[in-house]
Symmetry: C2
Subunit: 546 residues, 2 copies
């Protein structure tokens, strides 16, 4: 029997229409580096400018589902593209500005980008790439002056100034209704092996994901919030904050290129966000900055941390020093990204509560999860059985763009490549990436667990653990340590510190002290680089036993 319900598609067009009118007063603030003069706008104004952008893009031949790419920081113009491109029926493709030029070329070609919108400040990076792009016909430069435009040249490509393109166009656009399963936005992930892979979000998936972000057991985003989106808008849609803000009328604080701890602390003090989202490495920096030069961060009701495991010390320090709860979340580009979030059960207390909070969190109703063991068989959700997590749901990818990658899927479920346990009450605890697990004498050692333990030592700022070949045990852990400024510690001392905290057989023999841990384009520990450096003899390794 059919229901009598209206057949109204979930669409970004409707979100734009709603958010930019009903919530037109919500603020959109872009940081400029000058605390007294950020760029201030509103959802209404961003909506009007998005309409102009849509008219302009129609003029550049974006009449259907062409890909409009962005090569931008988190700023107002990037948000305008977020609104205009999917709402007009085209596909927004957020290029990752931190990738190697070869990868950017590969990705833009693979997605068949027709237009690229580029921040003038990123032209030094983009200009050398442009002549290599095969499908791009228009480059639109936001910010900057005539000289910037002149510096750009490529055969068959027209170069435009963003502001000139928008000038004089109508402030409204008749955002069309489309099929909710059509692509709205794309993001490539290099987190997988092999060539980067494209995930194409649908209007439906973005809409549903936005609702989840606004659910009280999600990120609880609401009209009273101001969200500081540190996580890049080219990284898994800034974890869903821009569209969720549009859905409920939250204000947005966008850091532009000012991603260093100092400016971040400044903007928190000046603009008083209530929620902020970033990878742990960013928060480590902000905490150090606040210790060195205190700021008022009391506006923050919660801080969302994800993208890699949240070091317990980070969570404790935020809470003990500033009374700000850290919400640990897990997700992937492939999962839109909200996969799980660590809100402890209401009746949990003390250390049990901490354990829940430090887990990767609970999968919500829309993200079905299961564990598959090394033998390909399901592992029970008993909190101790370890397996690779597979997920399924309306905002989880079921393929990659023009690349079916069957090895990444299993009967319609996404194989996450993450390894861990699930409790009966739905909490995920990751012990590792499938490829980062250390197999020592036939047993698994969790690199993440070791990192967390090492980082809880007072002298340690950061730590990363990788597997290195070992004649006896096949693999053993190598710990790369960054000490805090001025702090001193020997490998032997750190190893002694670990004794009692991890099983004896897991105690690492191999230690190296480094000035920085290599990071990926989105700020996670880049273990691939660490492994290569070690293989090439580029690390000074101390060996400690006993």
């Amino acid at each position: 029997m059919r229901s009598t319900m209206q057949d109204v598609p979930l669409s970004i067009a409707d979100l734009v229409r709603y958010g930019t009118t009903v919530h037109g007063r919500a603020r959109v603030v872009t940081w400029t580096g000058d605390a007294a003069n950020p760029r201030r706008s509103t959802l209404a104004e961003v909506g009007a400018r998005a309409a102009r952008l849509a008219h302009a893009l129609r003029g550049l031949g974006v009449t259907g589902d062409q890909r409009v790419a962005t090569f931008q920081w988190n700023n107002q113009e990037h948000l305008e593209a977020y609104f205009a491109v999917p709402a007009m029926g085209a596909v927004l493709h957020t290029l990752n500005i931190r990738l190697h030029p070869d990868q950017v070329v590969y990705i833009a070609d693979h997605a068949e980008d027709h237009v690229v919108i580029v921040d003038a400040s990123l032209l030094p990076l983009f200009a050398p790439i442009l002549p290599r792009l095969r499908t791009v016909r228009h480059v639109v430069v936001s910010g900057g002056g005539p000289a910037d435009l002149g510096a750009l040249a490529a055969e068959g490509v027209a170069v435009h100034s963003y502001e000139e393109l928008l000038a004089g166009r109508p402030d409204t656009f008749d955002w069309p209704a489309g099929d909710e399963r059509d692509a709205a936005a794309m993001c490539y992930t290099s987190g997988t092996t092999g060539a980067p892979k494209g995930v194409a979000y649908s209007h439906r998936s973005i809409y549903l994901h936005s609702m989840q972000v606004c659910m009280t057991d999600g990120k609880a985003l609401s009209q009273g919030d101001t969200a500081l989106a540190v996580v890049p808008m080219f990284h898994a849609m800034s974890w869903g904050l821009p569209y969720a803000a549009l859905m409920v009328g939250a204000s947005l604080l966008l850091p532009d290129r000012f991603l260093q701890p100092g400016p971040l602390a400044d903007m928190i003090q000046a603009e008083r966000p209530t929620i902020a989202a970033a990878v742990p490495t960013i928060w480590q920096g902000v905490l150090q900055e606040l210790e060195a030069a205190p700021r008022d961060v009391s506006s923050l009701h919660r801080v969302v941390v994800g993208g890699m495991a949240c070091p317990p010390s980070l969570m404790r320090r935020f809470e003990e020093l500033y009374g700000i709860p850290v919400l640990h979340a897990w997700g992937m580009t492939e999962t839109s990204p909200l996969g799980s979030i660590a809100r402890p059960p209401a009746d949990s207390e003390g250390e049990e509560r901490w354990a829940y909070r430090l887990s990767q969190g609970r999968l919500p109703a829309s993200v079905h999860g299961r564990l598959i063991g090394a033998d390909g068989r399901p592992v029970p959700h008993d909190g101790s059985g370890v397996g690779e997590l597979e997920v399924r749901g309306p905002w989880i990818t079921g393929a990659y763009h023009r690349d079916d990658a069957p090895e990444r899927f299993h009967d319609g479920w996404l194989r996450t490549g993450d390894v861990g346990t699930l409790t009966p009450d739905g909490f995920l605890r990751l012990t590792d990436r499938a490829k980062d697990v250390i197999k020592s004498g036939g047993e698994w050692i969790s690199s993440v667990e070791l990192e967390n333990q090492v980082m809880s030592h007072p002298a340690v700022a950061e730590a990363a653990v990788v597997a290195v070949p070992d004649p006896t045990w096949d693999e053993r852990p190598l710990v790369a340590v960054i000490l805090k400024d001025g702090a001193v510690a020997e490998a032997a001392e750190l190893r002694a510190f670990l004794a009692g905290r991890v099983p004896r057989w897991q105690l690492p023999e191999y230690w190296t002290f480094v000035d920085e841990v290599p990071k990926t384009s989105v700020g996670k520990f880049d273990k691939k680089v660490l492994r290569t450096r070690h293989a090439e003899g580029g690390l000074k390794v101390a060996e400690v036993r006993g």
Copy 2:
């Protein structure tokens, strides 16, 4: 371009699978009248019993989209039907136990109910109806004993005991995945003119609506909540609480037949719900009860009020006496029902904030609204233009079951029959039902506004205003007043009280004092009855002028 997202339908089967496992510990408490001994269960147990019920229903021929009707209070068994029936692919039909028998017969026939589950305590109502039902083949009696079963008889109908039917069946059921646009549940509304009309909710609409209920700007339902669902499960799906609770693992407190102020106050004190939902008339009674015999109601974080306009005095008293915020919501059976909810803008203060809270609230992104004036033309959303509200969205009905009722729709939008204004920031203020507006000398007088003003007089317990014919002005308001116990007030005094509070030309001349205002089956003022009584000369009317 197609997205790469998985094509996973939104389904109640998935909600049941998720909520009854991951949130299996959430409590389901059914009141028994004895504060020391309510019936205690959990979502896990309700899930297991729902599985048994599904197996049993298969045995009764429920193999496809047959309608399984309920004639039940809000209790655990009713919840079991809520879970089992849609999750097994059939259609749950909640019969309104307060309707006239003729209407119940009409509705059950129209929906073609195959099975009816009846609470034993409702058999005196149901037994005389049964022989008149044409499509029902099985009656399942929950509670009660052999004598109850024996009292039921009708040609071609088998009578079963609920517990006997469930006994020995498997605790799990392989809930099938279906098309998200198929019907999951039905509810008839008698709020419209003519015959009752059926609304058939889809899996999709119920799923999306549940997410909205759990959004922070919705009812903010979360895993930490215990929800007291006073609003009947046969009235617009108990405002969405049961399925939303399943989605996030909130506990449920179900009052069964104990809907009087005393037991309600008792169960709040004993079971400490954090949220409770009911029509204003119920809350009026609870407040009076609490005044007479105080209870501890401090567990309530908020109280949801809807179904009719919330009298300002009710909101103020809840807040001033108990510190409990009242959330005013508007909706209809046709809107699932969450249409709008009055969360004031974060930066509003003082009286402005009160005005926002007393409005019908803000339409969320998924409920598109517009106003159509008496001339059929759109009215601007400027907070003053008055028109009939039309709504559109994924959980709004677009037809009635086997009854297209084209007069109730307008280019795909539902005509709500409610009249009012919309502000630029999306807040709805209803001034009346289209049919309750008083047309006096070519101008509209809002019956609701008058009622609220009269009810703010200290001697008045309740008031209802209807239009009565008037030789000069076409229509004039008649006020029906119930005085508080022991209070005294004359019509002239009440009229004088209104002077200055409403425009002079709106001051009512016609007053009547009654012992009770007739209520509809769901507790709203029944103005039809009042009008008829007046037309038949059944009211003693005082006339005051000057």
